[in-house]
Symmetry: C2
Subunit: 217 residues, 2 copies
Amino acid sequence: MANRLTTKDKIINAAERLFAERGFSETSLRLITNKAEVNLASVNYHFGSKKELIQAVLARYLNQFMPALGRALEEVDQEPDLTLQDAFEAMVEPLMALNDVRQHGTALFLQLLGRGYIENQGHLRWFVSTHHGEVLEKISELVHRTAPHLKPTDIFWRMHYTLGTLVFTMSSYRALVDIAKADFDQDNDVETVLRRLIPYMAAGVSAPQPSLLTVTE
Amino acid sequence: MANRLTTKDKIINAAERLFAERGFSETSLRLITNKAEVNLASVNYHFGSKKELIQAVLARYLNQFMPALGRALEEVDQEPDLTLQDAFEAMVEPLMALNDVRQHGTALFLQLLGRGYIENQGHLRWFVSTHHGEVLEKISELVHRTAPHLKPTDIFWRMHYTLGTLVFTMSSYRALVDIAKADFDQDNDVETVLRRLIPYMAAGVSAPQPSLLTVTE
DNA sequence: CTTTATTTTAAACGAACGTTTGATTGAAGT
DNA sequence: ACTTCAATCAAACGTTCGTTTAAAATAAAG
């Protein structure tokens, strides 16, 4: 009957759920420690500060996901006639694998990612691009290969559009799934929501980009 | 030399800038009233509460934008062979018109919209759909007309993807424009950023949607 | 000018927050 | 058995927050 989880794990498990649901600054340490059934002071004892707890929560997923994504992209890069659709689909499995590290891990990670990007202006963007820059490079490379009509600057913008689509959708994940159920009687799990996104993102990224300078009338 | 702005306007002008930059809950009334050079208590005197101030900030833009967007959509609806690209381009002018109501109004509005959607789970989503439901209906209708291969549920999802693309891009507006300048020596104003988005969104929304149920392999 | 509303002001309120403290516990090492 | 040390705990600390109060200042009305 005893709880085999360490205090540190109980904290991080409760924290990520609440962070994903309510955002970082809207989630107090008192709420986390109540939910985790540990003492308030144990957060600062085990993690140092709230900020370091947030980083630990994000790092647990990033450290698993980014290398796995890198490997999946290398693999799909061998494919001779690769489409952008294929490249995006290759990202689903590493994302879904996060469900092994933790129940609802995929949804939690994407929600946390969205929260992190929006809440703290540019901080997470910097962290990801410096700690996992090679993976981002690889994605650019694959996009360039499968959509050679795009200039590097177009690829830059469209990767950010795609990130926006992904994290905004996932940060509203619960609400959207509930509406889809109520209005269309349609059930959606995480993987369905992800796969539903792919045609949109692939078509968007590879769309022709007309010059913006010649447009007046 | 005298300041002709009322206290109420000074508050709302300072508040929207800070809300857009830092988010609602990260912006204290003390910060707003310092920036606006008014007394702390005047917020509660003129607006009642912080929550009502947030609503007033958003309402000022929504009440101008939504009717203008509605008119623009009605107009473009007359067009016999309308494309989705045209429909999206029709939204640019109402958005840019927000620069008249306030300097940098377009960027501010889109940033505020993004903050509102993400920060308070579902509250703004409910407000917009109940107060401006006809305009959203009109958009769905136009999408259905220009992309008749999509089911209503597909349109629902893709409208939210598009909203995500738009508000995420605009909430990172400053950072993205700066990176584009540094890495590609490319200058972008708000309208350029908006128009650059359109091919992506139009291609994404009108992409074919394969069935998700048959996929198992 | 006097009286009445309206607006502005300084000050304080109570609540919630992240963090620190210092005592207490319980297992490991000798 | 005694010591050591990491872990837990209740309690408090100092800040910051949104909001309220009641007096002072200003504008409007008679």
